[in-house]
């Protein structure tokens, strides 16, 4: 290998190394901080949600909708619409869940009935223990 070619190769390698040693810290600097991985639980009194009613809560800053469905029991759904992240609302009269941004409609299982969302609403584990409802 000629000296000139060697030097230009060395310069290229050094250049990439210098760029890489700047890009890596930059990516780490801008990357979102890792959230706490511990799964929290939240407990509610069963009597807090009447039949056919819903309650909005936050679990680890995630907005959740707890619906007490007539004949089907209680369910915990994420309020974050799977389309573009707006928060869905429970519609008692029409017995469904509606997104105010793009008019998406979900059933009370969280499945998409109409509108643009690509997938159902995220469902959270829920247990009924005596008079309490434990979510998470």
């Amino acid at each position: 290998m000629k000296r000139r070619k060697f030097l230009s190769l060395l310069l290229t390698i050094l250049g990439f190394t210098a760029a890489g040693s700047f890009v890596y810290p930059l990516v780490r600097f801008l990357a979102p901080a890792e959230g706490k991985t511990k799964v929290k639980q939240i407990s509610l009194k069963k009597a807090e949600i009447l039949l056919g009613e819903a309650k909005e809560i936050a679990l680890d800053s995630i907005p959740i909708l707890i619906i007490n469905r007539p004949g089907k029991g209680v369910i915990a759904l994420s309020r974050v619409c799977s389309h573009l992240g707006c928060l869905v609302d429970y519609n008692k009269i029409q017995n469904n869940v509606i997104c105010p941004c793009h008019g998406a409609i979900f059933d009370l299982e969280g499945n998409v009935v109409s509108g643009p969302p690509p997938k159902p609403l995220q469902r959270f584990p829920l247990k009924v223990e005596g008079e309490s409802i434990v979510i998470g």
Binding site: L30, A31, P32, A33, G35, E56, A58, S61, I62, P63, R79, H83, L84, G85, C86, L87, D89, C99, P100, C101, H102, G103, P116, P118
Partner: protein
């Protein structure tokens, strides 16, 4: 005194020669029309944004706990705070109008064609930067409108498989839009974007001056008579002097721009600041019927009617890429759109479609 300063500068930088070469003896085409001033008006609008933006920075506190309060204080208690904020808000929308009008007029006059492909690409990039300016600035007041519009904007990348979620989290800096997002958008809005757009403006103006102003294609021009095989500056020896003739035209348009801006500020102060813009951000309540700003209503409506999110966003990106690279897709030499029925049809069809989608998006 003035003469002494002039002489001092003359000896050092050749002021008279500079004025002669760049202003009085620099000539613009004789058949130039009012649409040629749109670029300068857009530049003035940008300068208004820089100046008023600086004034807002004096009182704005970029922290999620205080941002909304600081804007409210600025509007209600700081003397003339409302004026500078309104100038910034209305000015940003009018700047968008001017950039769009400039782009449309350049397209209509065929000025994007060889040898001005680079000028066009820089211009379209500036259009995108202007939109990014508006989107990043939108979050800063930390209102319901800002919060939820940003939630939607930062969720859009999730349409892309594998990398979408990572891009979205990088934009937000957290799982949801939060104070971290506000800090990021603030840094982008006041530091990164002004730097990028200043470089692009510099390059854009350099190319306009280096290549020469593209004359309107309606009528004979030297350009069509001689095919371009090497670099040649296009001069217009029979044209009007840039200064004072054309500068006067530009000044009139800047005055019209200012008149429109102050009309909105005086008579329609809530036009760009609806109720949601004066309600503090609530991460647990999405307001009903939240809509993006007028210039994003068309893509918003398109996204709404296309059932597949990935398809909708990919389609918009393809259209955008085609728009940026249009000079390479339209290689026919004829610049006069009136002699090209298919291009004319495409232009008006796209324009009507965009307006139609915007109106539909507004009232859907």
């Amino acid at each position: 005194m003035w003469v002494r300063i002039k002489n001092w500068l003359e000896i050092r930088i050749g002021l008279e020669d500079l004025i002669r070469a760049q202003l009085t003896e620099y000539r613009v085409p004789k058949n130039i029309n009012i649409t040629y001033t749109f670029g300068f008006v857009a530049l003035t609008a940008f300068l208004i944004q820089v100046i008023t933006g600086f004034f807002l920075l004096v009182y704005y506190i970029p922290y999620s706990e205080t941002a909304f309060r600081s804007i409210q204080d600025l509007m209600n208690t700081v003397p003339y705070g409302w004026l500078f904020r309104q100038m910034h808000v209305v000015g940003s929308n009018l700047m968008m109008v001017m950039v769009l009008l400039h782009t449309l007029s350049v397209f209509f006059l065929g000025s994007y064609k060889k040898p001005r492909e680079l000028t066009w690409i820089l211009g379209t990039l500036m259009l995108l930067i202007t939109v990014t300016f508006c989107v990043s600035g939108y979050l800063l007041p930390w209102s319901q409108l800002s919060y939820w519009a940003t939630t939607i904007a930062t969720t859009i990348p999730t349409a892309f498989p594998y990398v979408g979620d990572t891009i979205s989290r990088f934009m937000k800096g957290s799982e949801q839009v939060s104070g971290i997002t506000l800090n990021r958008f603030f840094a982008i809005h006041v530091m990164l974007l002004p730097l990028i757009i200043s470089i692009l403006i510099g390059l854009h103006i350099f190319l306009v001056r280096r290549i020469g102003i593209s004359p309107p294609p309606f009528g004979k021009s030297a350009e069509t008579e001689r095919p371009r095989t090497e670099y040649r500056h296009e001069s217009h020896p029979d044209g009007y002097p840039f200064f004072p003739d054309f500068v006067l035209k530009e000044t009139i348009m800047v005055m019209v721009f200012c008149a429109v801006m102050f009309f909105f500020i005086s008579f329609l102060p809530t036009f760009f600041l609806p109720e949601e813009a004066n309600t503090p951000a609530d991460p647990f309540k999405t307001p009903a019927h939240i809509k993006p700003e007028w210039y994003l209503l068309a893509p918003y409506q398109m996204l709404k009617i296309i059932p597949n999110k990935f398809l909708g966003i990919s389609l918009q990106l393809i259209i955008l890429l085609m728009f940026i690279l249009w000079p390479f897709l339209d290689t026919i030499e004829e610049k006069n759109i009136f002699k090209r029925p298919r291009l004319r049809g495409l232009f008006f069809f796209s324009l009507i479609l965009w307006i139609g989608f915007t109106i539909w998006g507004k009232y859907s």
